[in-house]
């Protein structure tokens, strides 16, 4: 009777996660679990977050103990209906084997690749199917490909996925191809050329959203569809307490309130997130580069570039997702979306919808790209 037993396993958040530390259970044995319900608190070297239930069921057994460090896909708990006996659960737990990493996942080195585009080394990774039009994720100002850690695997279930670090960001070279949206969009096209991708579904966040919209207008033949999450380029206002504060913050104490602006719930800003951002900002050349880019794009608290018209002219299917409580770029800008665009305002969500509301965002992307 192994059928009705459903395992709860250690999730894989992002490309480099190999193991996680179990901090606490959030539900008791005997609880009825619904999909999306937070059931455990898990910590990695990048973040601490809730594990949300992927399946519904009755929690019969909590296997993982607080403090334990367990590999991805390790058995954390067991769900089964009341008809399943304790012995059957014992047998299931005893027989459970952590699945080996699938092909290409063995070494972190093989997950990430580097390609040189216009003289700039770019870190990127490909996931999911080989065939089909890939989904290209473009992160925002000061971000990196780990911004998509809750989205990559979900989208990779139906489409090929490409994530990369913009120039001057993450672990790509600390150089810029220019400080205009046009220059950044051209760079992304050259990146697609370099990795032999003819056309992609673009998913852009914040500045990455503005780049995606610009790219759709400038090179429509390279774009299948556009998904924009809290994009720049839809209006003039932008919160310089974030864009300027992020550049200027030198210490953990200075950076924390700045990062809290990103989320509807400031408690989502973890120590790991702050430390990770500081590690990036403390690389030689990063701070002046961000200052230069920020000054060009968000001069005096106003966005200098507008992408809505280019986006409308592209004629591509457009999906716009915006957190109602976005403290960086106001969700009111969503009203400026081009005619025919699908617009979804997410309640109780800030600037980082793809992290804050991963389930909804993944489902919306799936529906939009036809996955």
């Amino acid at each position: 009777m192994a059928g009705p037993i459903t395992p709860i396993v250690m999730p894989k958040w992002g490309l480099s996660m190999k193991e996680g530390t179990v901090n606490a259970w959030l539900v008791e044995e005997g609880a009825t679990i619904e999909v999306g319900m937070p059931i455990l608190d898990v910590e990695t070297d990048k973040l601490a977050s809730n594990v949300e239930a992927a399946d519904a069921g009755l929690l019969r057994r909590r296997i993982a103990q607080p403090g334990e460090v367990l590999p991805v896909k390790a058995l954390l708990g067991v769900m089964a209906p009341t008809g399943v006996s304790e012995e059957e659960i014992d047998a299931y737990v005893a027989a459970y084997v952590v699945p080996a990493a699938s092909e290409g996942e063995e070494e972190e080195g093989s997950v990430f690749q580097t390609v040189t585009v216009d003289g700039i080394g770019v870190r990127y990774a490909r996931r999911g199917l080989e065939a089909g039009t890939p989904v290209l994720f473009i992160h925002g100002f000061g971000g990196d490909l780990d911004n998509w850690l809750f989205n990559i695997d979900a989208v990779a279930e139906h489409s090929p996925v490409i994530v990369f670090d913009l120039p001057g960001h993450g672990q790509s070279d600390v150089k810029l191809p220019g400080t205009t949206l046009e220059a950044l969009a051209v760079f992304v096209v050259h990146f697609l050329d370099a990795i032999n991708v003819k056309q992609a579904h673009l998913v852009g966040h914040s500045l990455g959203g503005a780049i995606a919209a610009q790219l759709a207008g400038d090179a429509p033949d390279r774009v299948a569809s556009v998904t924009l999450i809290s994009p720049a380029g839809f209006g003039a206002e932008i919160n310089t307490a974030y864009t300027g504060g992020f550049v200027e913050a030198r210490s953990r104490r200075e950076l924390k309130p700045v990062l809290e602006l990103l989320f509807a719930d400031p408690a989502l800003v973890s120590r790991q997130m702050i430390d990770g951002m500081l590690k990036y900002k403390r690389m030689d050349g990063v701070e002046p580069l961000l200052a230069e880019l920020g000054a060009a794009l968000f001069k005096d608290g106003r966005q200098t570039a507008r992408t809505v018209d280019a986006l409308a002219a592209s004629g591509k299917p457009v999906l716009v997702l915006w957190g109602r409580d976005d403290h960086v770029i106001p969700s009111a800008h969503a009203a400026n979306a081009p005619e025919g665009a699908t617009v979804k305002i997410l309640e109780g969500t800030g600037h980082m919808a793809m992290l804050e509301k991963a389930h909804e965002v993944n489902a919306a992307i799936g529906a939009h790209v036809g996955g």
């Binding site: 607080p66 403090g67 990430f112 870190r123 672990q171 210490s251 104490r253 430390d275 403390r282 690389m283």
Partner: protein, 338 residues
């Protein structure tokens, strides 16, 4: 891109990158080019434990093998720093600092102040610290408190390869004399280190584990022992917050105070002798500034007040371990207010 390298390689990479970036960076020390018993420059061993291996081949005569006279070459490095170079002096074991105290305490540390701010002394003195190497009483001391005591010196003692590279680059770029303490038993310890150059600022402690019940403050090798203790305590349902001070001067007391205000309990761990050390300093500052937040007595975990023993069995007993630190934390949990 980040990859895993040892603390020893992180030191080598920091020096290499700074020498490539800045032609005023030079290095001097005993055997840093050649090596004990070798043919000198030809086999280029790179110091007593091979930390500077390969640097001579790349940077040539900007690395200088010195005579066996710490007082002479530490003085020379300080003089060169005062005249516009950025020297890194390697002084094998911190235990040998005694012969060049005048140069360090009374010259380097004082120049900025005694010349009305017109003189700067951007020198880095690197030295191995700590016990557990079976090297007996004259090669095993943790003398960090001596240097922390002197105004005008900055004192660094990292616990991870990442922090080591970033703090050493920061030390080389800093315009004041820096005593850079490397725990010899961490040289082989590996961790993620970006290939690119980066800095870790002075005066910012690192919270290496979050917890709500008790704050454990440590630096150097003791950070790892504190983490062992935290893992033991977690099994008993006690959540320890572990703070790595990283730099002892300047000291980030604010991070310690914030943590103690949250947990109400403090364990200070120090591998230095128990009197007038970093643990006593932290304890005093917390007692003064956050007395109201404390729910129990402050605990200190240190070696006994004796020279480091040569007997391996005794040396192992001498160095504070994870179980001892966990015991101290349990004592703070049992006593006092709830």
């Amino acid at each position: 891109m980040a990859r895993k390298i040892s603390m020893k390689l992180a030191i080598n990479e920091a020096i290499d990158q700074e020498m490539s970036r800045d032609p005023t960076v030079i290095m001097m020390g005993e055997d840093i080019v050649g090596g004990a018993g070798g043919e000198g420059e030809k086999d280029a061993w790179g110091g007593v434990l091979g930390v500077t291996k390969g640097l001579y081949a790349k940077h040539g005569d900007r690395l200088l093998d010195t005579p066996l006279s710490e007082s002479a070459y530490i003085g020379a490095a300080i003089g060169a720093a005062a005249c516009g170079m950025r020297p890194i002096a390697e002084l094998m074991f911190i235990d040998f600092m005694g012969v060049c105290f005048d140069q360090i305490f009374n010259q380097a540390a004082k120049f900025r102040y005694m010349f009305g701010g017109k003189a700067e002394t951007p020198v880095v003195i690197r030295a191995m610290v700590g016990a557990g190497f079976r090297a007996a009483a004259q090669h095993s001391q943790m003398l960090t408190p001596l240097f922390t005591h002197i105004p005008g010196l900055k004192v660094v003692c990292p616990s991870t390869p990442y922090d080591t590279k970033g703090l050493l680059i920061q030390s080389i770029r800093d315009n004041d004399p820096v005593i850079f303490c490397e725990h010899k038993n961490l040289y082989g310890f590996e961790g993620d280190v970006p290939e690119k150059s980066y800095t870790v600022p002075f005066g910012e402690a690192s919270v290496v584990r979050d917890g709500k019940d008790v704050s454990i403050v440590a630096y150097g090798l003791m950070v790892h022992r504190a983490l062992e203790a935290a893992a033991l305590l977690a099994k008993e349902g006690i959540e320890a917050e572990v703070i790595d001070l990283r730099t002892l001067s300047p000291l980030d007391i604010d991070t310690v105070l914030e943590s103690v205000e949250k947990t109400g309990r403090l364990v200070c761990v120090d591998e230095a002798s128990p009197r007038c050390n970093i643990a006593t300093d932290i304890s005093a500052q917390v007692a003064m500034q956050a007395f109201g937040a404390l729910k129990a007595q402050i605990e200190m975990v240190t070696p006994p007040h004796v020279p480091v023993p040569f007997s391996p069995a005794l040396e192992d007993l001498y160095i504070p371990g994870g179980p001892q630190i966990a015991d101290a934390a349990r004592r703070t949990m049992k006593k006092g207010k709830t």
